[in-house]
């Protein structure tokens, strides 16, 4: 039974609650619901978290922007080709700081999703992000990015306009900005499409979000030649926030209410807000040089390998 089935059961219980008048019965069901939440909705598997990260009702980047930042003004276009609706960008205020916000936007309905291309950006989207980041650098504004994408869009137009160049350029330039970049994975963090705006000084993840090199379905079909093994792949890939914290890829986990962010979004917005304000306060003490070198050092040291060091043997063996 996965989390969506459990959610349905919980909803059925809640529906029952609304039909009742009797005080005692209501109390009974309430206890039942709390109990069910505590037992069944905790200890999620990796696949449960994948389902939650892709949940239809999950807060999108626009929701987070509207509820976490004040006075947000959206800025459109990459000044070269067009405006990609899969990436929302602009300037907003948070806790006394003015910041540039860039987020990957999913829709909630099918029409919305078609408009923003299921949050799969084209090259112009990444170039818009880069333009806004350069602007932030010019005016010494911190950058906050909200990651929620299945990946960069694989299509004919995207390839012709240089999808890989757009992503590579973003990574290259992000490594040298003297303003802090704070990345928050709010849903799916899919591959290069996520990393292209996610090379942050600090990377945060919502508790039930995922961040991986590939979708579990793709992973299963490439490595095991069977896309139906996605659930097993999700376990093997170490894509949950807890796994990635353990591997030291991300800096902190932002907690979600029981049952996922969409159940009590307000709590999640407040948690994101306080995390960001704390991080912004920390970086406001640092010089641009410190911020830049700190970020470079962080990514320079990522990797898991060994090197046989012949020098170490000197003196031990003649």
């Amino acid at each position: 039974m996965n989390i969506l089935d459990k959610e349905k059961k919980l909803e059925a219980l809640e529906k029952e609650l609304s039909h009742l008048d009797d005080e005692d019965a209501i109390q009974d069901i309430r206890i039942k619901i709390e109990d069910y939440k505590r037992r069944a909705m905790k200890n999620l598997t990796a696949w449960d978290r994948v389902l939650l990260a892709r949940h239809k009702k999950r807060p999108t980047a626009q929701d987070v922007i509207d509820n976490v930042f004040d006075d947000f003004i959206e800025l459109h276009g990459d000044r070269k080709y067009g405006d990609d609706k899969a990436i929302v960008g602009g300037i907003g205020k948070i806790g006394g700081h003015v910041v540039t916000v860039i987020g990957e936007q999913k829709g909630k309905t099918t029409e919305e999703n078609i408009e923003c291309n299921f949050a799969m950006p084209h090259p112009e989207g990444y170039r818009k992000a880069l333009r806004l980041m350069r602007q932030a650098q010019k005016f010494n504004r911190p950058i906050v990015t909200l990651i929620d994408t299945p990946g960069a869009f694989p299509g004919i137009g995207a390839e012709a306009r240089g999808q890989s160049e757009a992503i590579a350029k973003n990574l290259q330039e992000m490594s040298q900005f003297g303003v802090p970049i704070l990345a928050v994975v709010i849903g799916e963090g899919g591959s290069g499409g996520a990393l292209a705006i996610g090379m942050g000084n600090q990377v945060f993840m919502l508790e039930n979000s995922i961040y991986s090199i590939l979708s579990p379905e793709g992973y299963a079909s490439i490595l095991w030649k069977d896309s139906s093994l996605a659930q097993e792949a999700a376990e093997a890939m170490k894509l949950t926030s807890y796994d990635l914290k353990e591997l030291d890829i991300i800096d902190a986990i932002i907690p979600e209410p029981v049952g996922g962010a969409h159940r009590e979004p307000e709590k999640v917005y407040r948690a994101i807000q306080s995390t960001l304000i704390q991080a912004l306060a920390y970086y406001s003490q640092q010089s641009p040089y410190e911020i830049k070198t700190g970020r470079y050092a962080k990514y320079r040291n990522l990797g898991f390998f060994q090197r046989f060091n012949y020098e170490n043997l000197k003196g031990v063996v003649k």
Partner: protein, 296 residues
Amino acid sequence: MKREQLKEAFERKKRFKNQLKTYRQKPESAKTPDVPKGLYEKCKECKTTVVVEDLIKNRFVCPNCDNHFRVRAVDRIGITVDEDSFVEKGLGYITLNPLFQDHYEQKISEYKKKTNLDEAYVYGYAEIKRHPCVIGVLDSYFMMGSMGSVVGEKVVKSVEYAMVKRLPLIMFIASGGARMQEGIYSLMQMAKTSGAIQKLNEQGLLYISVLTHPTTGGVSASFASLGDIILAEPKALIGFAGPRVIKQTIKQSLPEGFQTAEFLQDKGMVDKVVHRHEMQETLSKLLSMHEKGGRA
């Protein structure tokens, strides 16, 4: 010190020396490139059988139809740099299994035996027509030249080596993308390598990337696309997503010649498509024009 410890250390040293010996042999084997198994090789384009010796003389280009064969790292170095000038750097890296994936170590050791490399990326000092440079080559025969932690680290090390020696950097790319088995670590190598290229830029050093068949995925979306000058071999497959993925996503057939080197030159993503026979000449010209930091 305990005797056993000493013995162990001694054996390790011996093993490492043997390893070094095989590496030292590489420039020699580069002179007479590795003969693919058998005397004949079938061309995938025109379906004719080619005598391997002719193929090697012709720089791994089909004499019939001009199809560029995939080339091993050793052979690539052999056909690109001056004889005996290549000195390999960055030895002794050991690939680990960070996410404990099944069969990953076995696979790596199989590839190690097959290719006589310790990872998919080889770099070192070399001279091209007497012009010194740092050359890095991805070997598509080693797990499709995929980028894991070791490849990422070695790419960064080669960039750092170029910065220390103040030499231009040339990279031959042949890669399917990031290595799936190392998961998120492979993804992070994209950021790591791109950041290193930025450092190289700040130092004002030349970086030429040569895209060969195939260049896709995480490698094409990081250091491969960041060359000051991007060359490509004819008909090489270059792109972000593979053609199969694109077909599945958009549910249409792809146009003729889509994602080839010529297509990308047409779209302005590649500086020049260069035939393999002219590669050495082109590179040496470019190197000579960028000596003294580009000032004539």
